[in-house]
Symmetry: C4
Subunit: 191 residues, 4 copies
């Protein structure tokens, strides 16, 4: 099986997810500035989700880049990841429209948590196929970032009903953690 088509399909799904999210920002029916400001929470929610999908695209790119051969389990683990990511527009829209209230915040956290777990599973399946000496395994190392993210999302889900603002702080914090350049994979690739 060819890894190019896995990349192309994943790129397609991620490109569509990132773009249809903007459809959740409903066009105000008047031309007032007040009506525009009302959609500010939805806009901020869109911005956060755009960054998250961007991070996943970036990491996914690096992960698949090291891949030698696509097997059935890799393909399904990849679809499993895309499934959770495909729910981000829904959760993001619900959270934005309802001004970051407890339940929408919790759902957003659950989707991020499930996507992180799905990413973790995909990584594990690839390393299992490619072997302990694979480039991916060396690059990932002990994967503290992936594990820390899962712990953070869990904390966000648990606190979301009581302190939804704290869960939001965690979402922003994790995004910044991933945005800061991670030289692990790049370093191993070029050595």
């Amino acid at each position: 099986m060819n890894k190019n088509r896995l990349e192309a399909f994943s790129d397609g799904v991620l490109a569509i997810i990132i773009t249809i999210m903007v459809l959740e920002i409903k066009i105000p029916h008047s031309a007032n500035i007040q009506d525009l400001l009302k959609i500010l929470p939805t806009f901020l929610s869109y911005l956060l989700s755009f960054i998250y999908v961007g991070i996943y695209w970036n990491n996914h790119h690096h992960m698949i880049h090291t891949l030698q051969k696509v097997s059935g389990p890799i393909m399904w683990a990849n679809l499993h990841l895309l499934f959770w990511l495909s729910l981000i527009p829904f959760a993001s829209g619900w959270m934005g429209e309802n001004h970051y209230k407890p339940y929408p915040t919790m759902l957003y956290g659950i989707i991020l948590l499930m996507a992180a777990i799905a990413y973790f599973i995909l990584q594990g399946v690839i390393i299992k196929v490619e072997g302990k000496n694979s480039k991916l395994n060396q690059a990932v190392g002990n994967d503290w970032k992936g594990k820390a993210s899962i712990v953070c999302y869990l904390a966000a889900v648990c606190t979301s009903l009581k302190w939804p603002w704290f869960a939001q702080v965690i979402f922003v914090f994790v995004a910044i953690m991933w945005l800061l350049p991670d030289r692990r994979i790049e370093k191993v690739m070029h050595s």
Copy 2:
């Protein structure tokens, strides 16, 4: 004619189908957990359809992979398959919103049946072009899975008006049958 562009176009259409389906899950206008639970049937319907489109993408990938040369009939048989698959978001949304009632269930079964027949036709057209000794023909063998699926969908359509729950059981059963690894094509490819 180039098979890469057939793959790219099919990947694009399948990626969009799988992603726009999520737009059928309408965002609740309140932030209550009750309103979220109301969309559970739509979510489950989305999950089932996501798995079906994933299965088609996977099988389509294998089928086109063995292709040597794209002809006009292959292209139109492929578009015919994409046509029926493109109706899955509609049927899935109607079924989910109406809690798996008889007619939506019947329509969903008809769409799956037509897609399965279209897949069967595409397979036949490719084998006719590539010849009896082609890799695809050897890989497909007597194609019991494809034929069994068609029989199952027919059974689902026939029983949907009286026992819609039974039709749903069939949909889940067929999906599981395809999810279990099928080593036919992969085995022949690597021999």
Copy 3:
């Protein structure tokens, strides 16, 4: 400039056009068969438009396949074609929802006419760049099909306000004319 990216972008746009058209088929809010039958005109309109976009994708594929080098004018002539094709979902939805009434039928005819003219222009620009001895010029020949389509669409637009059903007959007739295999380009390519 690279023709692969022109193909990829055009494939992307065509794949999205063909798929978002299905969003124009609004999900009925009840589970009755009567409500489903009400969307039959929209469905037939979708079917017709799906076939038209499929024909354009097929012909576009052949045309670009013979291309040696992408220039600025080719790129803009291609975007011009995509612009008119991108309006098909709108015209198709309006026509289906209003049961093939005069004005929607006329608009649909105008969009098809403009797309056909845009295709004609793109073809001309490519032949001008590639030269009279190019494969495309030989393959296209006197291009009776392209010219006949433009005449037919003109006839459909002119008659649409008085006899919208006649314009529909023309739309179906032109689609069938293109669906029947055209060996012109394929023959020259393989000689």
Copy 4:
């Protein structure tokens, strides 16, 4: 990192942006010509935005074409550009539905301004990585067009609240400026 996947992802996002914009043209519920004419402003707004996204795709194509190697900063600068472009359908729809009133016009200008700045940043990041002697740097030269566009958008934003029609004139003027063939990059590429 591979520049093909950056191109494919950007192409996907741009293709989706250009195509989902058409969803902002809401289908009139009657078949009258008057109702069709009511959406004329939305249509013109769609046309303008289609041309802008087409210009960005064209320029982006040329810029990435000269690229040797994709780094993290290039990828994020590219996503930053795509973010602002992804807001064009929203701003375009709001402007069209509200007949080019002051605030929607201002928002449209701000989005175009931010996209132009993001393009400028991406260009700078690429030139920084590729070096002063890179093909892109020579091709871009003093980049008067890019700088002039930013000045024009600024002027449009500043005047939009008082004379929205003047801002529209600027939008059309900048689009025409970019549509006229720019031989800078092409010339250097072929030398």
